[in-house]
Point group: C2
């Protein structure tokens, strides 16, 4: 790895797992943990994720070759404002946010001379959050999307790719806008829908949710995801998620019409279409 | 168990698993398998599920104390028409259908003098279907809903309860209409939604489904369920499913309005509400 000093801001599920995973590669450099809550940072040191820590952002980054933004995306701008004058020339800033276009544009513009930003989105997660859920193999065999912009420097991209490959990820490239369009469909919309399925059932009768079998449990597991995180993802990717939600709403309206018209062959065709498509990712 | 001769019509996932599970209780009686496809019945005998088989329905049921309808619910009426004159006086007919009101009413009316019908719905399933997916422990610790009507005879109910308890199910009682209202919400609507989520993503771009992580896979696993089965469930429970789908559609419309108005605190409240409700069934 071309980094000897790494600073990770935000040691939750993703930041903590990344720190653990880097340590497990045999990394001989130094990892600084940065966060607001000291008890979390103490835990991170006890878990062997980090070598030292600070709650003062600008202190933690001053000698880092790589700074990883792994806090809530809603805090990125404030964090950048507090660290930008302290960043080392030649250092690289990267992030792990689930939405890219707005973040890449904002952070590209905030980088001081001689510092490069590379947007990244590791496709790894659990419904549980926080440092206690972190694990060294979270990224093993998972995808990580790198989203370079026109401003992104090649050697910075290469170094960030190497980082993610070293922890077991398969790295793919997308431009930030393409990323947000795709993930609005395959991740953001399904999360919103899962929350809505649970709330609809509670509306029908607040005491029946437990009658659902494993099918309902699997289907709504993502409704356990942190509400604040998903609010931020939705607001950061508003236009794309809205676009997909409207398409989804049209599908539901069409299905309702099939029920009303007792168009059971039509309904079966919709089910078959979905079943065939879903089979394609079964063995992934 | 108060049965010595059991006939099971339809040896797929549920019928086959029930046969295996009954055998595993140490049942010393006789199980006849009845179905349309002889190769499936031969397999059932090879798997040790049944003692003999026939493709002629009326032949298979003539000496049975219990007849289990485990084929597609769409065939129940035809099957009853072919077996009703051959049923033994004092025998019991039961089923395993996922929708109850219409089935219970129809079958109650078709029972010959001296034969009792008891509707049942074991809440167990997998996305795979057919005899090869059958397993003896499918019903272990799962719920089975018994749906007696005003016509159902008490001793028949007791015997069917004993059957399901012997294979490990926890038996609950509901009236058929209550059952259909509840399962429209916790099972039928979520299946329709899962199919719609997959079709929406394919609409956005047919090549992106594999970018979804484990969250999307879990959420859409039920879209692998047999299309014909779910078409029949939807048509048999049309009014209740339609009612829940309309409620769900209103939720989606309200969420779309929150996006359009950038009402992020409102959106977060919806997410929190769902998350709290979903937590209640996590440890079930």
């Amino acid at each position: 790895m071309n980094f000897s000093k790494i600073a990770i801001i935000g040691l939750g599920l993703i930041g903590g797992s990344l720190a653990l995973a880097i340590k497990q590669t045999g990394f001989t450099g130094h990892i600084t943990g940065i966060g607001r809550r000291e008890e979390n940072l103490i835990k991170a040191r006890e878990f062997g994720m980090i070598d030292n820590y600070t709650t003062v952002h600008e202190e933690g980054v001053h000698d880092a070759d790589l700074v990883v933004l792994a806090s809530c995306t809603g805090h990125f701008t404030d964090i950048m404002n507090s660290i930008k004058t302290g960043l080392k020339t030649g250092s690289i800033v990267t992030d792990v946010g689930s939405v890219k276009a707005r973040i890449v544009q904002t952070l590209d513009d905030m980088m001081p001379q001689g510092v490069s930003f590379v947007g990244a989105h590791p496709i790894a997660g659990k419904e549980c959050s926080g440092i206690d859920c972190a694990s060294a193999d979270l990224f093993r065999d998972s995808k990580c999307i790198i989203t370079p912009s026109a401003k992104t420097v090649d050697h910075a991209i290469d170094n960030v790719i190497e980082l993610w490959e070293s922890v077991g990820s398969v790295v793919l490239h997308m431009n930030p806008e393409e990323h947000d369009r795709i993930f609005a469909a395959v991740s953001h919309m399904p999360h919103v829908v899962a929350y809505a399925v649970v709330n609809t059932i509670m509306d029908v009768n607040p005491n029946i949710l437990h009658f659902g079998g494993t099918g309902l449990k699997d289907m709504t597991r993502i409704a356990l995801s942190p509400a604040e995180l998903w609010r931020d993802i939705c607001s950061s990717n508003k236009d794309e998620v809205l676009n997909v939600l409207k398409k989804f709403s049209s599908h539901i309206t069409a299905l309702i019409a099939m029920f009303e018209n007792s168009d059971w062959p039509g309904l079966e065709q919709e089910f078959i279409k979905a079943q065939e498509a879903r089979k394609l990712i079964e063995s992934d």
